[in-house]
Subunit: 360 residues, 2 copies
DNA sequence: CTGTTAGCGCATTCAA
DNA sequence: TTGAATGCGCTAACAG
């Protein structure tokens, strides 16, 4: 299959390459007669324009980069699907990259994507200051920050109202009568996680419940941490915090607390999975022994034991909106600074009022 | 940020662009002294080679295409992660596309990817004959078929031993004492699904159990079919079979059978989720009223009610192997025709012997 | 209404 | 040990 070029088409149609280019791109008027000749030649030779060559001259690749921590995490999967669906409607393509929350990987990917002349970038940053990302933004590469912020990068953020979601979750537990409420949080560099801690604290404060540091537990919030049950993904230690426990260990520690909580707010979907495992292994029951409310819903949350009460985020819509906004930036259209998406409390069966004899 | 090119570097270093190119690519000897000058210039100007321009002349883009039905299906997500991890080790990038099992979308993506001069393609085909895919393969584009076959495309297939997996699943149910065993299968154009039906039939035959067509139920096996519980994905009808019921309806129909089965083999993860929902809505219990065995494991399968007995596939490894093989094809290395990966029966709690009074 | 020409940024052949 | 020159396939002035 020897490549057929615009030149071949031009020769066969007896016109110049310029004319062929123009009928393809509808970029100047061509008489109907020659237009048909060109079209016939294209058809006959089965000509496909070379997008790379075009990109070199138009200085655009119709390609965007999508940087996420781990596509395997259902949250980022749905986001990716939203991005791809929307970006595809504009004839663009998406290159996806997994950073595993590793600044070094993030940096390397950014370098490669820039070399590839992507037209835009949607990134869930690791949260560590990235010189390269800052420079890229300053260099006017269209960028959308997704889910999280990152230092010194001036780009629109598409995210959910995390603080409010956490506040709602915590308040719900308080309304049920809980006084000792724990929180399973992620690493401090992830802005989303910090906002969720903030919301948690605000709810407690408003209810006049003292904030107890021993009930605020940190864990590695990533999806592929530790030996999972069902998927043979590789185990990857946290890049900039090797000692960060996974949610399984973290929750076990919390339950070993002298005065363990009667309820816990878990700040992402994967940690919720792990927490449920930890509970089961401790022969404790949910919600009888411990109420659990998770952040981020999941198809299987309805079928787990017990069905999970969660804060649901409009994930797919997040991805679509990010892509929409990015396209506008690319096309140099004016964009409104985006507002935060609302979240929703989905009450199922993993929370109930605390026992009277509170120390189990 | 005005682009700095190889020319700028050459000028600053006082050499020709050829020399700069050669120090970058280590493609001919350059004296240490000038090499250092060039390197210094690159550093000073913060020069990044333009991969598009390079691609135009080397006729390679270091990019592959990945076509899957729906990245949102955890099976394809893990595969995608495997592909990306491996492909990235070779400095390649992955463009991902969702076909939704739609031949038209598949065709359009293939066209665009070809125009983009991808160096290789990993595709989970819809199964409908694709003229374009056939021509691409004939045109010596390196292609790997993933999970499924497709007519007339001569390309290595990376897949699991589906027939054997289905056989094992069915045999397990038979050993438990089941005689009326149903199967929830997908559309007939998907080769994987047909192999699973084959394995199911073989197990029955060997056990001397007659095959009953009314127990073989077809459903739309896709992930984003119908209004899901947790994720706001759009509802998409089956492209070439608008009337195909989803697993929820299909299972309900099966349970309405005059002599319903005492056990059922569900042929993919998403249909298992739906089946569980259908059961719950019918106020039937698993495994007391109906034993269920699923194909493909899932992180949440362990936590569902009941914990699911499944056939587990090495998904991540599938993706990695496909990428490995594709790289070899791209590099024109010799490749062995791949063999099928074995699957594994994971016994949990969703199956038990049938009741004595078999008609509930 | 259409053709000629000059690059886009780079790798590479041929000379030196 | 290095440069000059050519062209990858295409678009976009500029001419006519």
């Amino acid at each position: 299959m020897t490549k057929v070029t615009i030149k071949d088409v031009a020769e066969r149609a007896g016109v110049s390459t310029a004319t062929v280019s123009h009928v393809i791109n509808h970029t100047r008027f061509v008489s109907e007669e020659t237009r048909q000749r060109v079209l016939a030649a294209i058809e006959a030779l089965n000509y496909q324009p070379n997008a790379i060559a075009r990109g070199l001259v138009t200085n655009s690749t119709q390609t965007i980069g999508l940087l996420v921590p781990d596509i395997t995490n259902p949250f980022f999967t749905a986001v990716a699907r939203g991005v791809e669906d929307k970006i595809n409607q504009h004839g663009y393509h998406t290159i996806f990259c997994n950073t595993d929350e590793d600044p070094a990987r993030e940096d390397e990917y950014l370098r490669l994507l820039a070399a590839r002349q992507i037209d835009g970038l949607i990134v869930v940053p690791t949260g560590m200051r990235s010189e390269r990302l800052i420079r890229l933004a300053e260099g006017n590469l269209p960028i959308i920050l997704l889910d999280r912020e990152t230092p010194e990068v001036a780009a629109p953020l598409i995210s959910v109202d995390n603080e409010s979601g956490a506040y709602q979750a915590t308040q719900y537990l308080i309304e049920l009568g809980h006084q000792r409420i724990g929180i399973l949080a992620g690493v401090e560099t992830i802005s989303t996680m910090e906002l969720r801690v903030d919301g948690y604290k605000r709810a407690l404060k408003e209810a006049g419940i003292p904030i107890e540091e021993s009930l605020i537990v940190r864990a590695d919030s990533r999806f592929n941490v530790g030996p999972l049950a069902a998927v043979d993904l590789p185990f990857i230690r946290h890049p900039h915090n090797q000692n960060m426990p996974n949610a399984f260990q973290a929750l076990k520690n919390l339950l070993d607390n002298e005065f363990p909580p009667s309820a816990i707010f878990v700040t992402n979907n994967q940690m919720t999975l792990w927490a449920l495992h930890a509970l089961r292994e401790s022969h404790l029951r949910c919600p009888e022994d411990l109420s659990i409310i998770g952040f981020d819903d999941h198809d299987w949350a309805l079928l787990s034991t017990p069905p999970l009460t969660v804060i649901r985020q409009p994930i797919y819509q997040l991805g679509q909106t990010a892509a929409d906004l990015l396209m506008k930036l690319i096309q140099q259209q004016a964009v409104q600074p985006p507002s935060l998406f609302p979240v929703e409390l989905i009450v199922r069966e993993s929370c109930q009022p605390p026992r009277k004899n509170s120390s189990r």
